[in-house]
């Protein structure tokens, strides 16, 4: 019986009494042990319950009739059955409306509302039912409102509890509530983050980056602190990096603490394999007091889980040191402490549960109510945050959520900072005598720290006169102590404009010095590095309530408040260099990062916003790096574990989105020749290109093509050694970047300098050195076209290039439409009633695995033939032979056994999940799937507001690129074709490598 029938029957029989079986019967008679039920029920019933129609076994039942029956037993059995029947009859099933009893022709519309539509005899009962149902509804509502009045819900304590419940899974940043009112929020990486504002501001945000100031909250980045002797740290960390990929932790200007550095990390001693991801790092300038150095590594939260074990391994730090700030708290307070989080600083003048406050007041307030701000997105309360080592003196501590990081992008970020930050004023002389619980009065007593503060203030004053970032060395760091910005917060808000009139003659010389030498490493020192100071500042923040009270008591409204002793905050300003690679728009997107102690987020955020900056979310950080032509983590790091996870996630999301459309409205990606619209199979692409080239070489050498392990091509999982990598060697990239330029350009730019010529020998050596590489490229459309996500990057044929030379306005060749060979398969399945698999039942389709019956397998043999035919048609050598590089492609595709194997394996698994318009798990040959060879895919593509054309960023296979460049004439080097997944039109684009 099929499943549907079974279910129907089950539904029907739901309220029927179960079969009445008596064990006593069998026991007492003992004779008919084989089928007691038969005896009981008599001749008309069958042993296996319900069956319709004539049955073969009917005769046998006649024979099995008992010769006599015991009257008492028989009556008892009948009595039980009658009882069961009565019970079933009296029990109401389903919706027990009164009018259910009426025959259909007597039912009327809206009978349940208007009892007068019922016949008289039923009216009374219906009325009762109606009242009952009305009451039930009322009761529910009343109960709900009794538990929570709005006033009760909005009471501070319960609000806090509610907030804490809501951020149990995904933690909130300090600016969360501000963001949640204005942004589309996303739950990502264990945080709630703003993706983009709810109002329209895409272009405005770009303009802000371009000519104004854009603000972002980057506090979700995790900070790791490494503490130890400099040599040990450098030795340990040098295993994670390589000079070939750029400056490392040991870069001279970074070690002094003068600059913040960026570095790409790899697993220990594995370069160039197994990359982890990019990090920013900042050394604390050498201090005279301690021989140890401090290093902050800023990590993206999705990278942290990979990096932390690796850091522990290289530093040999395995001994967990008790989480200092957390374990001190006694266990009772722990719960309450965990409830209080920095997020609430916007809302709560004194972030404490009311209940606790009351309790404290009752307890005579002896112990000052200490605010403990603990808990963050990436670890629980009890996990250790600090690890030390027995061999070395290195201590790793996790400072996640300890430091707030804001990013200001754009030329006005300077002026905005100088507008809101006021260097800390000195303490009054009388307080200098007495000791103070706050850090700044203590600091004021030390002469050297005051002189340092004066130096820093001088530098900061100089910054006022600086109009553009370009005047500062990129990446420079300035430590500073500032007053609480809330003290001088003016009521009116507006845009800041740079003020250049303050600059005088004497300052000019100083500024020139600043531009040349940068901020000295002494000035990069800040008290923010000290844990004790951070805690002191966080715990002694004046509450919003107190501040408002002070403002109210002010004689002249709106004037600046007198600075209380505790409102000085140590901060760090880190310059972010803009676009540094390439030729165009250098220095674009530069700005400042503002590092604050935790708890002070909102205190600085609101004044910043009042200065007229625009606030951006995750979308804008992506766009920022896109306009800087930089890869964005984790989107554009497909070789890192975090990038792989991101891609999987993205594929699932895109597929979900695709499946939400009705089947008839979906794009048929097979017809567009797009095998993987939702992800990029880099590994397969790289292997195919390599194989193609190898075959090509073999062809030349021995004239034999023998590739045995064709089957392993797409099936074998990549082991770490052979996994593809992204090429990050600066030398090679620079070389490639020269090669990619057309000849006319090269001569102009380099003044005819002796570049290494592009010749096959060089390429072969390069290929041997860098196996399985993809590299980051930028593409700018030559004419029309807006590249989309996962657009294909293809090699133009010689005919294409010739035609382009004749007609520069030509928009590009067309891909012949592919045939959807899977469609027939789907249709056939649908016809045969194999249910569930066909595209209409999509939801079930995901998790159902139809076991292959005999019929299906015989059918799939038929399919195989058809599929074979189609695949051969696709990868027809005659199509590909128009290529400028026919050798690799032809050698791959001309091998019939290859496509055979592929298609066979393809049909083998095609039974699992089929979605119309999508390829199955086993993919065709990636590089030669379409009429133009595929080089790579676009990872970020959009219309560029900066250049006014379509621009894309993506990866290409190194081998493929080299072959392409070799085949192109010098004046057309670097021209490739771009094709969106939902289009058959190829468009020309120029490929740049920026190094």
């Amino acid at each position: 019986m099929s499943g549907a029938k079974d279910r129907m029957r089950h539904k029907k029989m739901r309220n029927q009494p179960s079969n009445v079986t008596y064990s006593q019967w069998r026991d007492s008679t003992g004779r008919s042990s084989d089928s007691p039920q038969q005896h009981m029920r008599g001749p008309l019933q069958h042993p296996s319950g319900w069956k319709r129609g004539h049955q073969d076994g009917g005769v046998r039942h006649e024979q099995a009739l008992p010769k006599y029956i015991t009257a008492s037993l028989f009556a008892r059995a009948r009595a039980a059955e009658v009882n069961a029947m009565l019970r079933a009859v009296s029990k109401t099933t389903g919706s027990s409306h009164v009018f259910g009893a009426l025959p259909k022709h007597m039912r009327r519309r809206a009978m349940s509302h208007n009892t007068k539509r019922l016949p008289c005899r039923l009216r009374e009962m219906a009325q009762r039912m109606l009242e009952k149902s009305q009451q039930a509804g009322k009761k529910e509502k009343k109960e709900q409102s009794k538990t929570k009045s709005r006033r009760a819900r909005r009471r501070h304590g319960s609000l806090l509890l509610e907030f804490n419940r809501r951020q149990r899974k995904n933690k909130w940043l300090e600016t969360h509530i501000w963001h949640a009112k204005r942004f589309h929020m996303l739950k990502k990486w264990g945080y709630c983050l703003g993706e983009r504002p709810t109002y329209k501001c895409y272009r405005a945000s770009y303009r802000a980056m371009n000519s104004g100031c854009l603000l972002q909250d980057l506090s979700y980045y995790c900070c790791m602190e490494l503490h130890g002797p400099e040599e040990q740290l450098l030795n340990a960390l040098s295993r994670l990096t390589n000079k070939d990929a750029g400056p490392t932790f040991a870069a001279a200007s970074c070690v002094s603490g003068q600059k913040e550095g960026r570095v790409m990390l790899y697993k220990a001693d594995q370069y160039p394999h197994q990359p982890l991801g990019p990090v920013r790092f900042l050394w604390r300038p050498c201090s005279t007091t301690s021989p140890h150095r401090q290093l902050w590594i800023w990590v993206h939260p999705s990278l942290k889980q990979d990096l932390l074990p690796e850091l522990q391994a290289v530093c040999q730090c395995f001994e967990a040191v008790g989480p200092a700030g957390v374990e001190v708290v006694p266990s009772e307070n722990l719960v309450e402490a965990s409830l209080i989080s920095p997020v609430l600083s916007e809302f709560s003048p004194e972030p404490q549960c009311t209940r606790r406050k009351r309790k404290l007041e009752a307890d005579n307030e002896n112990d000052c109510p200490v605010r403990k701000i603990v808990g963050n997105g990436t670890r629980s309360l009890t996990t250790p945050v600090s690890w030390s080592s027995c061999n070395t003196e290195i201590v790793i501590s996790d400072l996640t959520m300890e430091i707030v990081r804001y990013r200001l992008i754009g030329p006005l970020s300077h002026s905005v900072l100088t507008e809101i930050l006021v260097p800390a004023t000195d303490c009054e002389s009388n307080t200098k005598m007495t000791s103070s619980p706050f850090w700044w009065p203590e600091e004021c007593k030390k002469e050297e720290s005051m002189s340092l503060h004066r130096q820093q203030t001088d530098v900061f004053q100089l910054l006022r006169g600086v109009y553009s970032m370009a005047e500062l060395p990129p990446g420079c760091v300035l430590g500073l102590t500032v007053d609480d910005p809330r003290l001088s917060l003016s009521a009116k808000r507006g845009k800041v404009t740079p003020d250049l009139h303050r600059t005088q003659g004497g300052v000019e010389e100083q500024r020139r010095n600043l531009a040349l030498r940068g901020v000295s490493s002494v000035c990069a020192q800040s008290a923010l590095w000290e844990k004790s100071v951070r805690e002191n500042v966080t715990n002694n923040k004046i509450s919003e309530q107190d501040l408002n009270r002070m403002k109210r008591e002010l004689l002249v409204p709106g004037s600046r408040l007198l600075t209380p002793a505790q409102s000085r905050v140590p901060i760090l300003l880190v310059n972010q260099a803009g676009k540094q690679l390439g030729e165009e728009r250098l220095g674009w997107g530069s700005g400042w990062d503002l590092l604050l102690p935790k708890g002070w987020g909102m205190a600085f955020w609101v004044p910043l916003v009042y200065c007229g900056v625009r606030v951006g979310g995750l979308q804008m950080s992506l766009k920022h790096s896109q306009y800087k032509r930089m890869p964005h983590f984790p989107h554009d790091y497909p070789d890192c574990p975090a990038g792989v996870r991101f891609q999987e996630q993205q594929e699932i999301e895109l597929l979900e989105k695709f499946k939400r459309r009705p089947p008839s409205k979906r794009t048929n990606y097979i017809k567009y020749g797009c095998a993987t619209p939702f992800r990029c199979p880099w590994q397969q692409l790289v292997e195919e290109w390599e194989k193609g080239v190898k075959q090509h070489e073999d062809n030349q050498d021995t004239k034999t093509i023998k590739i045995k392990d064709m089957t392993s091509l797409s099936g074998a999982g990549p082991n770490p050694a052979s996994a593809f990598i992204v090429l990050r060697s600066r030398k090679v990239l620079r070389q490639l970047s020269v090669w990619c330029r057309p000849s006319s350009y090269t001569r102009k730019a380099l003044g005819g300098s002796c570049a290494l010529p592009l010749c096959p020998d060089v390429i072969i050596s390069l290929q041997a050195e860098w196996k399985r590489c993809v590299l980051w490229v930028r593409l700018s459309a030559l004419g029309k076209g807006q590249p989309a996500l996962h657009a294909m990057l293809c090699v133009p044929t010689t005919e294409d290039l010739l035609r382009l030379r004749e007609d520069p306005q030509w928009c590009g060749p067309n891909e012949p439409q592919h045939t959807d060979h899977l469609k027939h398969q789907l249709k056939r399945r649908g016809k045969r009633g194999e249910a569930a698999l066909c595209c209409s039942a999509l939801k079930e389709e995901e998790d159902c695995n139809i076991p292959e019956t005999d019929d299906a397998s015989s059918a799939s043999k038929m399919e195989k033939k058809r599929v074979l035919f189609h695949i051969n048609q696709h990868s027809d050598p005659s199509v590909v032979l128009r290529d400028p590089l026919p050798k690799p492609s032809a050698s791959v595709t001309a091998d019939p056994s290859h496509s055979c194997v592929e298609s066979l394996s393809f049909t083998g698994c095609s039974n699992s999940t089929l979605v119309q318009g999508l390829w199955t798990k086993l993919l065709p040959n990636m590089s030669s799937h379409c009429s133009r060879m595929t080089l790579g895919w676009v990872v970020q593509g959009d219309f560029s507001l900066a250049t006014g054309t379509g621009e894309a960023l993506g990866f290409v296979s190194l081998v493929g690129l080299l072959q392409t460049l070799l085949g192109q004439s010098p004046d057309q080097r670097g021209i490739v074709l771009l094709r969106n997944p939902t289009s058959l039109q190829y468009r020309f684009a120029r490929l740049h490598i920026e190094a």
Binding site: K243, A251, S253, Y467, L756
Partner: protein, 151 residues
């Protein structure tokens, strides 16, 4: 500043040698390679009637922009055209074109100046080199005042 400059001259030729530079004889001469990064020139506040000429924008577009400033609804009595380095030529060209179009109604007054530019030299092997180097160089600039003389 003399020392870095000499290093640059060698490095520029080496930079393009690329990845095979290790086996070339040039490496023995100067082990430290530098990458030259030019910083942007200093920006000064811009009035509405200031036009900075560059070499990337189309010549015609820049000319049209100046023309519009002079006789559009903005109706500026005078505009300033600035050009730096290679763009001096183009700035002069634009100013002369404006004068020609106006049939002698417009007068020009040119000033020249020198702008100090900063270059960063990033060592290729940052661990070994000491300080990151910066150097200054000078470039010429022209500022042309295009105005209607008071009748």
């Amino acid at each position: 500043m003399a020392e870095p400059r000499s290093q640059v001259s060698t490095s520029m030729s080496q930079k393009s040698m690329g990845f095979s530079a290790s086996d070339g004889p040039a490496t023995e001469m100067d082990p430290v390679e530098y990458t030259l990064r030019k910083r942007l020139p200093r920006k000064l506040p811009k009035r509405r009637n200031d036009v900075y000429i560059n070499m990337k924008t189309d010549f015609k577009a820049q000319l049209a922009r100046c023309q519009k400033l002079l006789d559009g609804s903005a109706g500026h009595k005078e505009i300033c055209i600035h050009g730096l380095g290679l763009a001096i030529n183009r700035a002069i060209n634009i100013a002369l074109q404006l004068q020609a179009f106006s049939q002698g109604a417009i007068q020009l007054a040119a000033n020249t100046s020198t702008v100090e530019l900063i270059d960063d030299l990033e060592p290729e092997d940052p661990d070994e080199a000491g300080e990151p180097l910066t150097r200054t160089r000078n470039n010429s600039a022209i500022h042309i005042k295009v105005f209607y003389p008071n009748a």
